[in-house]
């Protein structure tokens, strides 16, 4: 028998038993919708946590913290070398020294020298979103704690000059203090207890001994591990935000697994429902199977009709299940965001996330589970003795 005819007959049988078919499909829908609802909630929360922890750009950055080897330094030569790697988008150094402010006692902020053109890599939020006007501008951005320590307000301090005495090591490894006059152009928003500021690295060039660390940004997130390994193989220690993200992902992997398992129980119950439906259907149609065999139907033709019916139930259940699970998630999401807005809080945004491959995978899963549940009744159908089946009424 042709596949299309198997499907035609199977669909006809399902249509004739509308109520039973609907109930069986509903069982699968509940199972699949539960899985989809729970797991996409897991995915959504995971995404929310990951994106709150780091921005996506940060996932492309590996920080070289120090060398394991005395002779290898974090210096310009290394940066030039890193930039030769085609996977590397940029490599930028930072120098960190502590400084004092002239005529202000007891303030010792950390002064970070950075490349203005690559400042974005640090992903700092500032009040005015200012940029350094040039590579060697005598400018500084400081955090709130420094503003308070200077007895200033965040508005008034903008545009004022301060002279910083910064102590570090010079290229000959001797301690040296330099004095630089820097204009405050912006305030860094942060929650840290420390005091710090960022200024173009050119202002610290006399202290330019070796870098505190180097941030390397790769072009594609996927290449991060490769570049990281490459740098480590050259004798440097590195750190990446990605490893924290990995830990978060792992934790959510476990949570999603548990949520999925709950849904799986629901689907298992649905599979029993399919099995039950197909078995009842087999008993009802014993006579029909006898007829089919007597007029030349092969065993395979009989079993295929049953398998097709189970598969169709699974496919429909999977399809509508994914749809309902997704819709349920969307509804809850809208409700929560609506309530949060009404209460004046900040809306959490997307709580559910349904990757398309997950949705397709779940439909296929439902399809295979129910096809599997139909195997035994289908086999029974194919093995029926046609003469006994003909007697059966």
């Amino acid at each position: 028998m042709k596949m299309i005819d198997v499907l035609r007959i199977a669909l006809g049988n399902l249509r004739r038993n509308k109520l039973r078919t609907t109930l069986t499909v509903a069982g699968v829908v509940v199972g699949i919708a539960t899985i989809v609802f729970l797991v996409t909630l897991g995915f959504g929360l995971q995404k929310l946590v990951v994106s709150n922890t780091t921005n996506l750009e940060a996932l492309k950055v590996v920080t070289i913290t120090k060398s394991k080897d005395e002779n290898k330094l974090l210096n310009d030569a290394l940066i030039d070398n890193l930039k030769k790697n085609p996977e590397v988008d940029l490599a930028t150094p930072i120098l960190s020294y502590s400084g004092t402010v002239k005529e202000k006692e007891g303030i010792a902020p950390v002064i970070n020298g950075v490349e203005p053109k690559n400042f974005a890599v640090y992903d700092l939020k500032t009040n005015l979103n200012k940029k350094f006007s040039s590579d060697n501008a005598g400018e500084i951005m400081i955090n709130k704690n420094v503003v308070t320590a200077l007895n200033e307000t965040e508005d008034q301090i903008i545009g004022k000059d301060f002279t910083f005495d910064i102590t570090g090591l010079d290229p000959t490894n001797t301690a040296k203090t330099i004095s630089v006059k820097l204009k405050v152009i912006d305030i860094i928003k942060d929650d840290s207890k420390g005091k710090f500021g960022y200024t173009p690295i050119a202002n610290l060039k006399e202290l330019n001994h070796h870098f505190f660390n180097i941030k390397v940004k790769v072009k594609q997130k996927e290449k991060l591990q490769e570049v990281k390994k490459e740098i480590e193989s050259q004798g440097f220690e590195t750190s990446v935000v990605a490893s924290q993200v990995d830990a978060i992902n792992l934790a959510f992997g476990v949570i999603n697994g548990v949520l999925g398992a709950f849904g799986m129980i629901a689907l298992f119950v649905a599979a029993i429902g399919i099995f039950n439906t197909m078995t009842i259907s087999l008993l009802e149609r014993t006579h029909e199977i006898g007829i089919m065999k007597a007029i030349g139907g092969r065993d395979k033709d009989c079993s295929r009709i049953f398998t097709a019916e189970a598969a169709i139930i699974g496919f429909m259940g999977g399809f509508f299940g994914v749809f309902s699970g997704w819709g349920g998630g969307k509804a809850i999401e809208l409700l929560i965001n609506f309530l949060a807005n009404k209460a004046g809080g900040s809306a959490p945004g997307h709580l559910f996330y349904t990757p398309p491959t997950f949705a397709i995978g779940v439909v296929l899963f439902a399809f295979f589970v129910s096809t599997f549940a139909g195997i035994w009744p289908a086999r029974r159908a194919s093995k029926l003795n046609p003469l006994e089946a003909l007697r059966y009424e």
Binding site: M1, E288, I291, M292, K293, A294, I295, G296, R298, E393
Partner: protein, 274 residues
Amino acid sequence: MAKTPVIKISNLSKKFMLGDIEVQALESVSLEIYSGEFICFFGPSGCGKSTLMSMIAGLQPPSTGSIMIRGEDLAKMSTNQLAEHRRTKIGMVFQAFNLIQTMNVLENIALPLTFARISKMRRMKRAENLLEIVGMGKYKDRTPNQLSGGQQQRIAIARSLVANPWIILADEPTGNLDSKSANDVMKLLISLNRKSKRTVILITHNPEYIQYADRIFWMQDGKMIKVEANSHVHTAYAGDKTSKHKKGEESQEDEVPDAAEVKEDNFSVEEANK
């Protein structure tokens, strides 16, 4: 004229176990049936007629002995080959009609062709054609339970013919019918034999029908006790005797077309499969 045996049965026996009791349904039956013959299996209930017929159809294997269909041994066939045997060489008609209630009349008739992977268009055309032949053209969208017994049996006959088989096996096809419908069905079977030269095997215990057979196989207690040839059959016509005493009786049945209208249309599953 030289006739080839289309069915050759040698020493066929069939035993059933009913718990501890052994039932000998058939005992050493040997027979040869030739192409184009109209055969009657005649005998009391329980003598083994249906068992013999189901074995010719390959629906159950013999305990001992062999069945050859045009020289092919059924015992050597796989289950799939037996299914093909039933699909292409045998057309079965049952006392209980055995139509599939969930399919309409056309789908029922076309079902053997569906198994044979014939395209929907071709098989529906063929089924409609046969529906006309059995005089049921008007009823193609009905389901079996919307038809009378006689009408259902005519559909079953159309179904048995759809794959253009060599052999029609009819197991008490008139057993559930009123005499007018029974007569119509008999007319159809006889015309299939006379006009389309099909081999027909009819099981009956109505002695009225045995006059239409070329040969009658008398059975008793699982044995073939007598084979009787009918000399006058070719002059007998189905309509003559059986319908005479029905004249004037009100009937809701449709007129069955005259036997002459049932003509061979050279349909072949093998060809259609290509």
